[in-house]
Amino acid sequence: MTLDVAPPSQMGSTGDTLPPGGVVHRRPWWMGQHMGTGLLLGIGGYALGHYLGNTIAGGYTHVGTAGENDVAIVLALLLGVVGWLAGVGALNYPLAKLAGREPVAQPDTQHWTRFFRFSVEHKTVGMQYLIAVLVFLFTGGLLAMSIRTELLSPTSHIIGPGTYISIVGEHGTVMMMMASSLVVGPLGNWLIPIMIGSRRMAFPRVEAFSFWLFSAGYFVILTALPLGGFPTGWTGYAPLQTQATVGMDSYLVGFSVIGLGMILAGFNLLVTIINYRAPGMTWSRIPVFAWSILATSALLALATPTLAVACMFGILDRTVGTAFYVNAHGGSSYLWENLFWFFGHPEVYIMALPGFGIVGEMLPVFTRKPLFAYRVAAAGMIGVALLSFFVWQHHLFQSGINPDMRPLFMLTTELISIPTGFIFLVGLGTLYKAKIRFEVPMLFALAMYFNFLIGGVTGVFVSDVPVDVTVHGSFFVLAHFHYTIMGGLVFAFFGGVYYWMPKLTGKMMNKTLGKVHFWMMFVFFNLTFFPMFLIGLLGQPRRVFEYAQGLQTLNDFSSVSAFCLGASFLVFVVNFVWSIFIAPQEAPLNPWGSLGLEWQTATPVPQHNFERIPVVLTDPYHYSEPGASPVADLAPTSFAEFAAVGAGGGGPIARGEP
């Protein structure tokens, strides 16, 4: 067992972004590969694919015009993605290796233009993800605003049914794509290596690749709107999917691309947490946020392939005339439903678990208490992740498939509330006789518990088959999952942004604006979505542009609240721009007084995070415990010291094993 205490410059291939023997090629900043070249090649790829598709398949009689040639659109989108990746330089390394040449690498730079380039530095990728998920979030939010505008009136239409259904599908898809990477992308990539005492992610190029796939997915899914939209909502049910016009191809290709990015990001984080823990960072010492990311990335790596396969079948059905989902030709419309939800339900927990982790990280800091029942928290997250693979058919309770299995899926679904309850036990136990400071992140953490409780309890209603007969597919379900995803994950995410922003940027977010943001968001979130439980119970199905006259009052109330909820995000944007760019206020090194390892590093975090790999001495939750050991020795000097903390812990890489 060896302890790698060498400074990064001597570390060779393990800590450096340059391949050994690689050529450093210095170019002026405006040359070389970046988002601009990516866009250029992306558009070129789109045009080329479109031309090829029309050449190949344009002669078929059922392809009346080029505008409905699925082959052309699918090829256009795929080549567009390849062009984008090639343009930003994501393919340089593998292509050079394939050609038997040493790859030409750009040197690491701290220049701000690095955010627009293919960078393999995990903190840069984290920031890129942060901006990207916010763009996703605000795009989806604007679409939500137009949905609520249309629903202001039960019968007179502002945008019309065709546009409405496109916007509903686009909103759902964009938000789902955003929410699956909302925490894992920015905070996971940025913080996890530092939290577990590593200098980097396990696969830096894969990490960067996952981000550029994610950003490509954004453009792909946006092409759905000019292509006529897709009428299926984010669930994309076949055979409506097979029947739909070419906007559907954007959905299928978009989800495949994003799905590939999710798989890569997931297994990268999984490998990083398992193998790159610093010495002494045993499984009972890793921060609870790392546990949540571990569970989430396992789900990402294991569930998302199903989605990719499902989308591939869909693309084949639409382009080359297979019949995976066409009942009349020997396929089954149940196949899509099963494949989609086999991914879709773990996906729901991909969009909940990171929130639990963030909140678990913040509560001890703002209560000055140790995290209550750490092992229960970890067990809860792993339990949720495991059980989430056994519940997908509750989405098919009314579909008529496997009706005799409904009690089983009712059981597994309700069992999930036990490990989810663990998270509440941890929260409530930590609050017990605490000293609560109501900083902005803490407000978001408490709100997450408030909202997620409603979302979770109404989940039991939805899982109960007899009650589900009424609420299935209604606004009740819609309110339920907005309470879990937005009320849970998005609240936790914003808490995390306020909490870690001093670390990420070295600047404090404005506290007053933060509190205005929080209270607007909290109040109007509840005023928007709570009425939807009633709207659903009173008989309004999801995704309708017309509804009963009697429900107008509730719908209008919800719409107006939604506009105010949207405005609360403007407060965040103002706060962000103001605090980071206009009137930046230098943050103290550890503004919240946290014991977490990430707060023990310098700000800004040095390029390789740690001058020496720290030796972790204990878990980071020893609050209000005088005489407790510091969380880690950041400047370990001898092997004897490492031996003193015990031989266990640390990943195989950190232990120097092959």
Binding site: P161, I165, P231, N327, A328, A373, K433, D468, T470
Partner: protein
Amino acid sequence: MSEHAGTSGRPGAGASTSSVAAGTARPLQDIWRIVGIWVALSIVGDLVFWFVAGPHVPPGDMTSSASGAQFDFNVLFMVALPVILAVWTYMGYAVIMWRASRPGAPEPIGGPRARSNLKVQLWWIVVTTVVVLSMFVFGTVELIVPAGAGGAEGPNPIWTPASKNVLPIQVIAQQWQFTYRYPTFGGMETSTLIVPDNTTIAFHVTSLDVIHSFWAYQLGVKIDANPGIDDVGYTTTNQLGKFTVRCNELCGIWHGAMYDYGKVVSKAQFQKWGTSTARATAANTKYLPPFAWTYSPTANGATGVTAANTSGQAPFSKIQTYGATTKAKKVVKNVQTSTTTITTGST
């Protein structure tokens, strides 16, 4: 919860300031207060809900499955409300009593007693497990005993009503309307759903194109309509009145407009209506595909296309295969022409 406040012997526990709230004499004072508030709130909340709101909870009591859904919802609510109130009471108490800005707030105590408490953890797990399992048992009984509780039971239902006199009614969904066929009246097809009172009805739901969902809201019935599949669900009517039928599964752009209204009428009226409608529509029924539990676009001519393709057109056309109506064709065409202008540029 844990009684770690009593362990003021730990170094630096801040015992000098903590005498008021931590109350070494009564270590669980806070917990008992919370329990007291919670019990009071829960009893009041549950009673108010059960007696004031409960009888009005949708979908009402027009059928056995509707009143069953109402009863189940109310029971779940009676359990859910105390759970929610427990967390809210605790959090509210914590936010008020254990905030840092409260004058004389004691210093929190860390250490092993605050890090975990086996007794509390075990009790939590036991209680949540018991609650969850009893919810499951309750839900299962309420699903099986009323023969599927108005939900979809697939083509071969295993939980069937005890009654021998079950009236079958077929619901055919297509973009974007429901039609209803009555095998007991010679397979006549209507656009309005009329059902008799005090009768157990078997809804056979199928689709001609994409997935729809038949949601007869006041009847407490929701059954997905899958193409080529006969999806069965049961309910027993026990009240006269009007009800709404809505499509509950996104089925294309006019999904929001796919609804109609039905009526529960007396048995005598139903018989009269059925006989006269069957006679009045006999000429139309003759031209319909023969009554079947499912309709395949090519096999029995549901779309007017017969099994052998004699049209001279390409055998595979999305629009024809799924039997879209004229309205559908028109809409799809519009979308296509609008996209043409965008994509022809690069061809």
